[in-house]
Structures are given as C-alpha cells and as structure tokens.
Subunit: 239 residues, 2 copies
C-alpha cells in the first residue's frame, strides 16, 4: 500500500517537475523555447519518456496553462487577503491592480493564456474563468454594487447573462460563498462583463505594446481607467 503510494508520489513529483521546467523555459526563452526535448534534457531524461505523462505536446501546454492560471489566482487571492472584507472598493482595486501587475511581471505567461485563441470551450470551466468569477463574486457578496437596471442590458444578451449568472452562483456556492439571488441581478452580470472587457483591453494592450503610439508609462492611464470604472459602478476610490 505505502509502496504504491510512494511510487505515485514519485510520479507526481516528476510530473510537477516537468511542468515547472516547461514554465521556466517559457519565461526564459519565450513560447517557442519550450520544447519536449528541451524539457527532457533539463530534467535528465529523454523526450519520449514525457509521453508517459502527457498525450502530446499540446496536452502538456494545456496543463501548463492551468498551472499558470492557478498561480495567478493564488496571487490575486493573497493580495485580497491583506484587505479587510468590508473595504469593497479596496478589494476591487486590489484585484485590478494585481491582475495588471501579474501580467506585466509575466508577459509570456499572459500571452500564452490570454491571447491564444481558445476553442469554444466552456470559458467558465477553464481555470482562469474561476479567478475572475470567484474573486468578483466574493467582492460582490460582501456588498451590493450600483448597477444598471435590467432593462438597460441588451435584450439579445439576456439568455447568455442568465446562464452566466447561474454558472457563477453555482461556482460561488461550491466555494462556500452564498450570494442572495436578488443581489445578483442581470444588470450585475452585465456590469461584470463590461468591467472585464475594459480591464482586459487595457492590460493586454500594455503587455503587447499595442497602444496606437509608444506609451512610456501606462500606469497613470490604467489607474484612471480603474478609477473611472469604479465610480461608474458606484464605488468611491480609496485614499
């Protein structure tokens, strides 16, 4: 019994080592620097051995993506832990700033995860979906925001939004956060969506250097965007 367990643990160890080396190669040499042979070389085995752990190169990459998302989620959660639960604006700002800071510190991971066309997979299933959703959900659970009335959301979007809300409520329930249904209106869901669009656009453009002109210091623009977003949502900016 313990023998089998020991073997399982060893397997899990090398598995984790594989992913760690893959990520190291990603951050050091870019996406095209991560290669099966390179990984194997680094951990002292041969390339075909990796097929004992992953079905293909693509499969490995996908698992690396999951790891990256999990790390991002952990970092955001840690940053959130420093802020009292009552300070809703502070928590929103922490998540936004944390996301930007992480993206700037990990541009290649960001590109891999957020700028690779994902098939029509259930986005909320993928590990990133959970980050934004649970974090946002927790913020949402602690205090109600000012959101547009339901009639203001585009009618053709209602079906998608109701499904979104249901998914998020389930996900929150799993993590033990109970959100009263009446707090989570469709307008709230719509607001979260718009929030994410602007946050993502700002950060992606900064990481990719795709502003329409060379921006030397993008931080003030980011800060003003977040502040604007916060006031639109009815939060007063902290300090």
């Amino acid at each position: 019994m313990t023998e089998a367990a020991r073997r399982d643990r060893k397997r899990a160890d090398t598995d984790q080592q594989i992913r760690a080396v893959a990520r190291a190669l990603l951050v050091e040499h870019g996406a095209q620097g991560v290669t099966l042979r390179g990984i194997a070389r680094e951990i002292g085995i041969t390339a075909p051995a990796l097929y004992r752990y992953y079905d293909s190169f693509e499969d490995l990459i996908q698992h690396v993506c999951s790891d990256i998302c999990a790390d991002l989620a952990d970092e955001l959660a840690a940053g959130l832990g420093l802020i009292p639960e009552e300070d809703t604006p502070g928590r929103v700002f922490a998540v936004c700033r944390g996301f930007r800071a992480w993206a700037i510190r990990h541009p290649r991971e960001f590109s891999l995860v957020f700028a690779t066309p994902a098939g029509p997979q259930a986005a909320a299933t993928d590990p990133f979906g959970r980050i934004f959703l649970t974090v946002a959900g927790r913020v949402l659970a602690t205090r109600t925001l000012v959101v547009p009335a339901d009639p203001d959301v585009p009618p053709r979007l209602l079906a998608d939004l109701t499904l979104f809300r249901a998914t998020l409520l389930d996900s929150l329930a799993e993590t033990g956060v109970a959100v009263p249904e009446h707090v989570f209106s469709l307008g709230t869901a719509y607001t979260m969506l718009r929030f994410w669009v602007r946050l993502y656009g700002q950060v992606a453009l900064e990481v990719f250097g795709r502003f329409p002109f060379p921006v030397a210091d993008a931080e003030p623009m980011f800060e003003s965007m977040v502040a604007e977003l916060a006031t639109e949502v009815g939060l007063t900016a902290p300090r």
Copy 2:
C-alpha cells in the same frame, strides 16, 4: 534599362506571391501551418530560394503582418468611403464595426498582428498604427468631438500624449489632411486612446473566446459598447 526593369518586376511578382501564399497558409492551417518549405513547395521552388527575398522566417512573417495591416486599412477606408463626410457618427460607427467584422472574418490574421507581443518598436510606425490613427484623424478633422478638458487627463500622461498628438498631426499632414491644432486638444488624444482600449478589448476577447463565460452572440454587447462610447464622446447614434 527595360530589361532590368522587367527583371525587377519579376522579382517583385514572386515576392508578392510568396507573401500571398504565406497568408493563404495562415488562414487555412493556422499560424503553425505557415512554413518556409510549405511556401516554397506551393510556388514551385525550394526553401533556400526564399532567402533571396527575406533574411529569415521571422523577417517574412513581419512583412506578412504589414500586408495584413495594409489590407485591414484598405477595407476600413473602403467602408468609410460609403459614408458622407458630414456624418461623423456614421463614420465612427463604420470604423468600429468594420474593425470587428474584419477581426471575426480573419481571426488568425488578427491573432498574428494584434496578439503577438511587439517589441518596444514605435507603435505609430507600424502599419497598424496608421490605420487607426489616420481613420480616426480624418473623422476628427471633419468635425470636433466633445472631449474632456485637458485638466482631466492624468498629468503623468501629458508627455506621452503631446508626443502622440505631434506624431498624428504629422501623419495626417502627410496624407493631406490638415487639422487645426486647436481642434486637437490633449483631451482629444486621451479620448482616442481610451476609445481604442475599449474597442480592442471587446474585439480581442470575442475573437479569442475569452469572455468569462461562453457568449453565444457577442454582437449586442459590441453594439451597446460602441453606442455607449459614442455618447460619451458626444456623438449621437445614427439611425
């Protein structure tokens, strides 16, 4: 003389053929389907011959990117041609919708051009910069928009914005559009920047399928975003 000219034209022809085939492979088989040997095979030569035209694979890709940007610019300009110059809101909407439509119709080109981290190159120099800037500039030249007063732009961004404005004014002057300096305030430049951030975020998320939940029909969200953006800028929605 004409002999040399004829040779030059032949060279230019094959050069264009190379880029066309590269692009065809990109749209058919994705980014990793475009390969020097594949291109050479398709046009009936061998791979090393391509080095007579480009320094490296990377170099070729970069030129393909330029072509893509040029085509996008042409398409936007054509769409703009159908709308009378006086109809400023119509022109703004045409550019936004045109950008989204193009991105959805050419997802792989979009990924290549807009989601590949670009070095700290002069963004306004790259072919895309010109699209957004000249189109926006022309719209801007025909009528003045309602923009925030200069004091509202983040002070730390002033340096970047003044440089941006100067670059854009030069670029516009080159294409024969004269914009009075007093029309083009720093607030205007800032507005254009924010406009682009939201437009890009929306379109990129849709193309990459990275909304926080599966969105079946993203068009209503796009439309409402553009409408919101337009009213913020002081344009009344057309029709």
